[in-house]
Amino acid sequence: MESYETHEHDVLVIGAGGAGLRAAIEAASQGVSVGVVCKSLLGKAHTVMAEGGVAAAMANVDKSDNWQTHFKDTMAGGKMLNNWRMAQIHAQQAPDRIHELEQWGALFDRTPTGDILQRAFGGHTCKRLCHVGDRTGLELIRTLQDRVVQIGMPVYMECTATHLFKDGGRIAGVLAYWRETGKFVLYKAKAIILATGGTGKAFVITSNSWEYTGDGFGMAYQAGAQLMDMEFVQFHPTGMVWPPGVRGILVTEAVRGEGGQLKNSKGERFMERYDPKRMELSTRDQVARAIYTEVKEGRGSPHGGVFLSVTHLNAEAVKKKLPSMYHQLKDFADVDITKEPMEVGPTTHYIMGGIRVEAETTASTVPGLYAAGETAAGMHGANRLGGNSLSDLLVFGRLSGHHAAQFAKQNSGAVKINEDEVRRAAQEVLAPFDRTSGPTPYELHEKLQEFMQAKVGIMRIESDIKEALVEIQDLKKKLTTVRVSGSRMFNPGWHLAYDLKNLLTSAEAIARAALMRQESRGAHTRLDHPKTDPEWGKVNHVISKDGDAMKVAQSPLPQMPDELKKLFEETK
């Protein structure tokens, strides 16, 4: 094959969002050599779009808050399907991770007494979200990015990872291509951390960017790692619905956190019928289902959503607390949110499932391969609470960096990568250039997004999911005939052609797990099995590669120790 450059690191981090950068910082602090590979420019990863805040029981506003309450809220929000140990570690460590960000220069909004201000959010029983107006993610990523630059480590930007390689059983490296030139680059590494985010681009209405193609899921699956809980896809209740070009773009939950009200076309605050106690601050799965139901039963807004209004709040306060929302709606939809309601509806936002990891170490089932952030499963169970993702990134990003570095130190011998495997992988990536006929990647992607949205979306039923699985098999066949044109230089069509492989693996895992779970729980709603069944609450779905087929197995949920179980009894 053509010559390619090679780099070698003790720890290689794939993905430069919050989890990846936090992991890189931690690994570097252990004195090992660290490199970061990312698909976009540094600072553009999805974390930048997070708006509402980062959850941590700091008790600055609600003095009664503590890690136990945060833990309970997280488990209850996840319908008890969470890995209890991850939820516990997360709740205990989140406050330290926020303080650490301040030491690196982050500036969160303050209380009048000079502490970090915290706001209310869905499913959190205390005011718990540290924030910077409605641009918290930008503050997070910029702070971490500055820290990475300060420490000084190679960041391989606009470089897409395609295949993981192993040496014997353990991880050995990854093949990638430079988006600019289309040339290959091989990274050898003793440990690899996948922080590649989710797979929102499998759906047509989504708040996710082009990068969200399930690369980590696809690569880990091919390398023999297990995926878990893939049926749980979060549909954020409030995406924009109009105009068509911005359909799916997020309207932050902070709008409701600051007092925004949801109304149907009759002017009713319909959450009274679905969750009278928590109203608009119910969990995302419930609010999304409520909006879906209102629209379906004919009480929707003109463009197929419902109304979200902050017009009863002080206009200046709205502009101060929700500045990006004010501009976003004004610029894109001609709506002045201080005077008129917004039209909103559910949008694909996040996946609770992902790579199965050990709670304490974030290690996958492949030695040397770690996963953190949205790429990892377990922390959020069947439904994630808003604000728990940014804290997840920090807590588990740090742990993955720590443990990957430890692994690299303990397994310091050189890793070997089989040349033939590299050659075959490169051939696979380049194959679409050889074809002169066949579908374009854009056609296949559009098809996938449409049927995933229609058949494995917010409301699911056995017959639909089965149809989707047939379509997935069909697309997998067509993907072997996909053609691309142009050169290898910065060619988005070609990039998408390979991304589709990971998207299809993710979509199949979602559909297979959704078909198997014959109940409704959290974000997974089965019209043919509308009840939550305690028996199903005892198992996770574990997905792995079995020859050429995808295997879904049930695995019993780890048992929570008695002292934590007691926390739930006390509130009953």
Partner: protein, 243 residues
């Protein structure tokens, strides 16, 4: 649905050409939607950077009818439907391909800035009033439109001697940070070339985050440079103190 004619610059620095496409225009459509339409229907290899499509990441900078803009924020209905719309890459940086430019110079400049330097140990409290002005600077999404429009870079190509508005904003966010203890004034005067800026405010005009780059970042920094280097009282003090 109406149609609009859109002319897009293709190619590399060595070989570039404009190609013309007819694109259907729907309600609320933005220029980035038109580029995506062209990708999926006519030119699958058309290179463009984008991520969030919501003016939060600063990836899709381009020059629309000659003006530096975020394509995701530029509505088609803001332009005359009977005129051709022209989309070029941002001018100040070398083109890689089509609408994608090499902005790596910015990342190199960033590395030369003294990082955040807090006092040792635990911090006390911080108050909102002390943070407001810094939070304005921290809104920057690094779209580099200010860098692209600044004549010191755009016309005079002083890349080696001038950090550009983006990094004056970054330095202002550090210099005015309530906890920062370092000084970047020497850098501003020397490597940063702050003196080249003659406050035409072009950068402030194109900023999609409405940061008052000139008034709130550059002018106060210029004042600090003047205080440090040109204050006559300070100068006499320095002569006698030997500093």
């Amino acid at each position: 649905m109406s149609e609009m004619v859109i002319r897009v610059s293709h190619g590399t620095t060595e070989k570039m050409e404009e190609k013309t496409y007819k694109v259907p225009v729907g309600p609320g459509m933005v220029v980035l939607d038109a580029i995506h339409y062209i990708q999926s229907h006519f030119a699958p290899d058309l290179a463009v950077r984008w991520n969030c499509k919501a003016a939060k990441c600063g990836s899709c900078s381009a020059e629309v009818n000659g003006k530096p803009k975020l394509m995701c924020k530029s509505r088609m209905d803001a332009y005359d439907q009977n005129e051709e719309l022209v989309v070029h890459p941002i001018k100040t940086f070398p083109r890689i391909k089509d609408l994608v430019t090499d902005v790596s110079w910015n990342y190199r400049v960033n590395k030369t800035i003294t990082p955040f330097t807090p006092p040792k140990g635990n911090f006390g409290k911080m108050y909102q009033a002390d943070m407001d002005r810094v939070q304005e600077f921290r809104k920057c999404i690094e779209c580099f439109l200010c860098q692209s429009v600044c004549h010191v870079l755009r016309n005079h190509e002083k890349h080696e001697e001038f950090a550009g508005p983006r990094f004056f904003v970054r330095i202002a966010s550090l210099e005015m940070h309530p906890l920062d203890e370092a000084s970047r004034i020497k850098f501003l005067k020397e490597e940063g070339g702050l003196g080249y800026c003659n406050i035409t405010k072009c950068c402030s005009e194109v900023c999609p985050e409405d940061i008052h780059i000139t008034d709130n970042a550059i002018i106060p920094l210029k004042e600090r440079v003047v205080d440090e280097y040109y204050d006559p009282v300070q100068k006499i003090f320095r002569i006698f103190s030997g500093k």
